[in-house]
Symmetry: C3
């Protein structure tokens, strides 16, 4: 059995992160499915998904790591194409990836206590993001 949901969320631009755990857990809990896989997917090419301990220190450190790896104010070929300023956003998002799959069992996500499902915004301005949450199982 497959159930697919979409949610819209507002972000504040590069470096912002949102905790989706309670939303995803509620969908799993109300799905009527006991065991299976939930896939969380962000539409668009300048945001990503992962798990992390969701506290401001880790969120800051994660952004700082990406700033070393793909600095926001460096030159990017992508800027030449559209006059965009978000080349750093594209390469960071492609590296992190748009998709996260989490098994569940007895209606409970297999997350650790300090492990949250996190949407990471990489774009250089605030965005409204569409998130697909798909539950598959029995």
């Amino acid at each position: 059995m497959v159930k697919t949901f979409t949610r819209q969320l507002n972000t504040r631009g590069q470096g912002d992160a949102l905790d989706l755990t309670s939303e995803v857990a509620a969908i799993v809990s109300q799905s009527g499915l006991s065991a299976g896989l939930v896939t969380v997917f962000v539409t668009g090419s300048t945001a990503g998904l992962t798990t992390a301990e969701f506290e401001p220190g880790v969120v800051h450190d994660f952004d700082a790591m990406f700033e070393r790896l793909a600095p926001r104010h460096a030159d990017y070929r992508h800027h030449l194409r559209w006059g965009d300023d978000n080349g750093s956003s594209h390469v960071r998002a492609a590296l992190l990836g748009p998709s996260l799959s989490v098994p569940f069992h007895d209606r409970e996500l297999s997350l650790g206590t300090w492990q949250q499902i996190v949407l990471v915004e990489f774009d250089t301005h605030p965005r409204t993001r569409e998130i697909v949450i798909q539950v598959m199982g029995e």
Copy 2:
């Protein structure tokens, strides 16, 4: 219901990227399944999969980011083992990952307009790649 397909693709070596979106969309559309998950997986340990805006600027910028992170001509322990020259390929591919899962609904992939499914070649010479595309759903 599960349907598994394989495709072979030729790449031109490190820095090359191929857009798999239309192939994956066609498989989903013809699968007879309405909703579910498609998993794209690349066999081998020197290539990876992600989504990105597939345009030459982003492809170049993504390669340049990996070159800063794991330079092609640096020393790697892996080179000592087999006399290979592709240590950079192995660590880049392990970081990006070989697998991408994309939900679909009403036979449509949950991708954004500027978001393509992209195979990234990291090996130092042209390769023939085997891609597994698996559709699961109802």
Copy 3:
């Protein structure tokens, strides 16, 4: 049909890596399922999963890449919160991701000959890890 298993594994701390391939292959082979998807997930926010050629050179090179990207002995905001020393572990793990999905067909994983399923430990001390292995298919 869905089957979910958990395994506990001991790691030796940051830079350690464990090959899970034979364990995952055995679970798939004994599941009674012919085709489907196996998802491997590590509970906790300081370890990750990927595929790689599992040999000591690649394991060393992968750790060295993360040390350049997020040095163990740098300053992290996360350290200020709990007095922890594992800020590097959190950002490395969030970048790699906790989840890996591998299609199987005719009871065989779609892995290449030199492609293993690898648990990567990022925490700064030895840990007992819980791994969830979930098989879904028909």
